[in-house]
Each structure stands twice: as C-alpha cells, then as structure tokens.
C-alpha cells in the first residue's frame, strides 16, 4: 500500500476502501523498517500523524468534502516551519527550535487534509548537494546505501524513493529539489521563483530559494503543486497571478512541441551513461512528435562561479540572525555580548555553513563588492538573457539534472569546489528564476538518472505536460529500489 501513488490512494480513500489511519500506519511501519538504513528523517511525528489520520477518517465518514490529498501522508523538509514541531534545518544552532507558527506551505498542506508524518533531513541550512552536511546525520540513497541521496533535500527524496512517505516537500536554491530527485529516481519540481510562498521557509539565499514537490510520478507532482502554489501576502516576493489547475496540464501529447537540448550540458564533464540516457529521452520525444533543436547557452560556463558568489553573499546576510539572542543555540561561554556572538556561531554552525558565510562576507566586503558580488549580479543578467534567447524559439529545454549519478558517501567532502561543480545543470535555472522538473529517465550501475525539463517563467504547465507525456511512454518511474 505504501508503494502506491497519491492519486491511486485517493481513489481508494474516496471510495472508502482504505482509511487514512490504515495508510498512515503502513507508512509508519515502512519508516520503522527502512529508517535504520536510509535515515531520511530528522523527526518522525508518529503521534500527531495518527491523531490527524483518525480525525481525517471521521471527516470522510461524515461525508465531508475531501481533496485529492485528504488522508495522504506527506513529509516536510526540516527547513519549513511547523508549529509546535521541531524545525532544525539539520543544524545544531536550531537543534531545539520549535516554531510558534506554520510556514504557509505547511498551512496549505494541512488545509488540504494531508497527514504530516515527519520532518526530513537535509544539508545544514540547505547548503550542500549530498545531505552529508547535515548536522544531525547523513542520509543514505535507497538505491545503494553506500551512495549519497543528493542534496540538499536528500531526506525528502530518499523518503519518497524508500516509500517512507507518499509525498514530500523540498526547497531548491541551486538544484536542491531536482538533483536529489534525480539521484533517488523520483520526480522533483522547482516552480518559478514567486509561484510558492517562502513564508516560514528558513532563508538561505532569498533571491533563489523556492519550495516545490517531490513525488513518485508527475501526476502526484501536479496534485501537490495545486496545494503549494499561490500568492501569499506574507511573502512580498510571491507573485499575485492566477494559479491554474495543474491536473489539466497532464496531457499525453507533445506533438509539435519545440524542445531545445542544451549543447553545453551534453558535452564535457557529463558522464557517458548520463549523456546516453538523455539522448534516448530526446529520441523518445522525437518519436512522440516533438520538434527537437540544439540550443547553446555560452554563459553556463560562468553559472557555478556566479552562483557561489551570490548565494553565499545572501546567506551571510540571512544567517546573521543566528546570534544566540532570541532563539536557537546560545553558547555558555558568554561573558559579554560580542563573545556570545562569536562562540554561539562557532559552536552552532557546521563547516560548510561557516565556509559559505566566510565566502559571502568576503564577496560583500569593502574593496571586493564590485569585483565579486556586483560582477556576479551582472553575469546573472547575461545568463537570464541566454535563456530568453533560447525560449524565443523553444517551448521547453532539456538537459540532465546532474552530470553524474549518485556518488559515494565521502567522495567529495574534502573538495568543496568539486561538490559545487556538480550543480552545473541546475544552478542556471535558479539564477534565472525559472521552473524546472527532474524525472527518472534511466539507470547507470543501478543508480537512477534524472532528466531535467526547463520552462519559461510561470510556464509550469508545459513542463508538466512534457514530463507527463514522457512518463506515460516510459517505465522508468515504476522502478523501485530493493532495500
């Protein structure tokens, strides 16, 4: 039962063939069985989930209106605030933080009637590509527990892949939904910047962060998008545009769709097996009637450098709030205010977070601001322009979501730059604020490969349509890891 999708389970629940309690218990059993090897969760909210499932069943029994997500288990990435439930961001500095409010996405998920089963592990403050930077514990990829699940939403991706939840939320600043989705063989969708409220999302890089779904297939992705998307007056960057019913985008047809494949992401630095799977996917789209064309994005070469100046700069400013005054960890070594700051931050932050605060502070400091931060913002404009040119002739763009499949735990931790460079396919999309999906499209050495489909701003529907069509005509999404 835990192996099914949300849309399959909804049909059982709405026909009263399955109760939310039975389903929630099945998921909690699966968590108990697999967690020892996967370690996807920071907190499992067993009691709350069972209580919520029982209340949901009461509502169903009384024939109250139900939504497609009523009674469906969902896991929340641990950087989204949940009222009364620990929200650690996988950081020691927030190890005891119990938010006094719900993030807007969490309120929306609760209103839809979904059952929250826990909070998922991540790279500390979402800084990382492997979930090895978690201050709590590393997460293991269900396809091969010696490899990483990707990051930073590695806990959410691994939980979905291991059937420890039906749905999950993630956040994506430089690929943190799409890359772990790719590594774990699930679907991950980063909506357009502004499509989903960031209120209650612990800020990393505010001009890049965006919340989105992780799911077992494209249909479930659309169902969760229907709940997450929409304007929120509490997030001034959330956009006040009408939200379509994303289910209507699930059309098995790409005839005449103009699909560009990105030359720079099929060349040097991309693993051979990954490249071959993307070429196969392109062939599939062509067979299905799409028109394929090569597009060149010459500025992509500069995207990683641009991102690793802008994101740390924003992070260094956002993370200034962790000073030990109002919430989170405070050092016991605090004879005066200044040393309280130094010690609190020294004890509370992990190495990668410190590295990025240092990098960002440097890029913003007097004498270096123009050469690094401002320069990066200008290159960001050039990257946006490359996308604009490509979208003048294409409906969507294709690439791998990651240049490789999941790497071994410990393989890249000593060399941060090599870890950063593995984000090359996803980072440009965040810099331009665009929506993009990753969905399974093959395997290499028993590990999943992800196909990335990128769209214009607020063109989520055409991405979902392309992804749905690909999924309907392939079987990759049906493969399960044997844990």
């Amino acid at each position: 039962m835990h192996k099914k999708t949300a849309h399959e389970l909804h049909s059982l629940i709405s026909h009263k063939k399955l109760s939310s309690l039975e389903l929630t218990e099945a998921i909690l059993d699966q968590i108990e069985k697999s967690e020892g090897r996967v370690k996807a969760f920071v907190t499992v909210t067993k009691e709350e989930a069972l209580k919520q499932a029982k209340a949901t069943d009461e509502r169903i029994k009384n024939n109250q209106t139900i939504t497609p997500l009523t009674g469906i288990p969902i896991a929340i990435k641990d950087n989204m605030c949940t009222q009364g439930i620990l929200t650690t961001c996988s950081s020691k500095i927030l190890a005891n933080y119990i938010p006094p409010y719900d993030a807007t996405v969490v309120s929306r998920i609760k209103e839809a009637g979904a059952v929250i089963v826990g909070k998922t592990n991540m790279d500390e403050f979402a800084m990382g590509s492997s979930t090895e930077n978690s201050g709590i514990h590393p997460t293991h990829n269900p396809w091969n527990t010696k490899t990483v699940p990707g990051g930073s939403s590695g806990g959410s991706a691994a939980a979905v892949a291991a059937d420890e939840t039906i749905l999950a939320t993630g956040s994506d600043t430089g690929g943190s939904i799409r890359q772990p989705a790719s590594f774990c063989g699930v679907v991950g969708f980063k909506p357009t910047y502004g499509r989903v409220s960031r209120y209650g999302l612990v800020a990393f890089a505010s001009s890049l962060d965006q919340i989105g779904p992780l799911a077992k297939d494209v249909t479930d992705t659309a169902l969760l998008m229907n709940v997450l998307a929409g304007h929120d007056s509490r997030d001034s960057t959330s956009v006040d545009l009408p939200v379509p019913d994303y289910r209507k985008a699930l059309i098995d047809n790409v005839k005449k769709m103009k699909i560009g494949y990105i030359k720079e992401l099929l060349g040097k630095g991309i693993d051979k097996e990954v490249k071959n799977s993307i070429l196969e996917a392109m062939k599939k789209f062509e067979e299905l009637g799409a028109e394929l064309m090569e597009v060149s994005m010459p500025t992509f070469e500069y995207a990683v450098a641009t991102y690793y100046l802008i994101a740390p700069a924003e992070a260094s400013s956002n993370l200034a709030r962790y000073d030990g005054v109002k919430f989170g960890h405070r050092s016991k070594v605090a004879p005066d205010l200044l040393s309280m700051y130094y010690h609190t931050r020294r004890e509370g932050f992990g190495t990668e977070v410190k590295r990025r605060i240092m990098l960002g502070t440097y890029a913003l400091s007097a004498g270096y601001y123009d050469a690094y931060y401002l320069k990066a913002l200008k290159v960001r404009t050039l990257i946006k322009q490359d996308f604009e040119k490509a979208f003048a002739k294409c409906d969507v763009l294709l690439s791998p979501a990651s240049p490789s499949v999941a790497f071994k735990i410990g393989e890249k931790t000593a060399d941060p730059l090599s870890m950063y460079l593995s984000d090359i396919a996803t980072i440009p999309v965040n810099l331009a604020g665009l929506p993009a999906i990753s969905l399974p499209c093959g395997f290499s050495h028993g590990l999943p490969i992800g196909l990335q489909i990128i769209g214009k701003a607020f063109a989520e529907e055409i991405i979902l349509r392309a992804a749905f069509t690909f999924e309907q005509n392939t079987d990759w999404h049906k493969k399960k890891p044997s844990l």
Partner: protein, 92 residues
C-alpha cells in the same frame, strides 16, 4: 590569493578554530581563483540582476495586528526574563 581570514571572520561575528582558519584560507582562495573566470566577460554595460523576477513596491496596508503567541516565541529564547530576551550586560 591572500585572504585575511581573521578580518572576514570578525565582520561575520564568526568564531573559528585555528584549523578552520587554515582550511578556509586555502579553500576560499581556490574558490575565488575559480570565480576569476567571470573576469573574462565584459559586463561594462550590463545591468545587475539582484532578482530574477523583478517586483516593485509591494506594499500592504499599515495596520496593527495582535501577536497572540508571545509565550511560544519566548519559549524559544535561550534566556528570558519578564517577557523580554535576556542578554549579557551591554552597558556598564
């Protein structure tokens, strides 16, 4: 590249161990040297993009709304006294 790690750490109010200072001096140099590839691009006439989707003047009504859960907020405080956050003495 020579980076004054201690100066940067001071700006960030970040305590670092000697080992971290050494490590970051090396790693930040490597990352910033890599970032020098941006210098190859002529950006003289390019406007900076601080946001991907530009929005202007997002305002809301200036209205007082009650904050009811001050108890939950203060429950997260490392030190609290009479409904206030307690910190080490600042003024002698």
């Amino acid at each position: 590249m020579n980076i004054d790690v201690e100066h940067i750490a001071r700006l960030a109010r970040l305590g670092l161990s000697e080992k971290e200072k050494e490590l970051f001096a090396k790693q930040l140099s490597a990352i910033l040297e890599y970032a020098d590839i941006l210098k190859k691009l002529d950006t003289e006439d390019v406007p900076p993009a601080s946001h991907a989707i530009p929005l202007k003047n997002v305002l809301r009504e200036d209205k007082v709304v009650p904050c009811e859960n001050t108890g939950d907020i203060l429950a997260n405080a490392p030190a609290e006294e009479q409904g206030m956050f307690r910190v080490p003495r600042i003024i002698e």
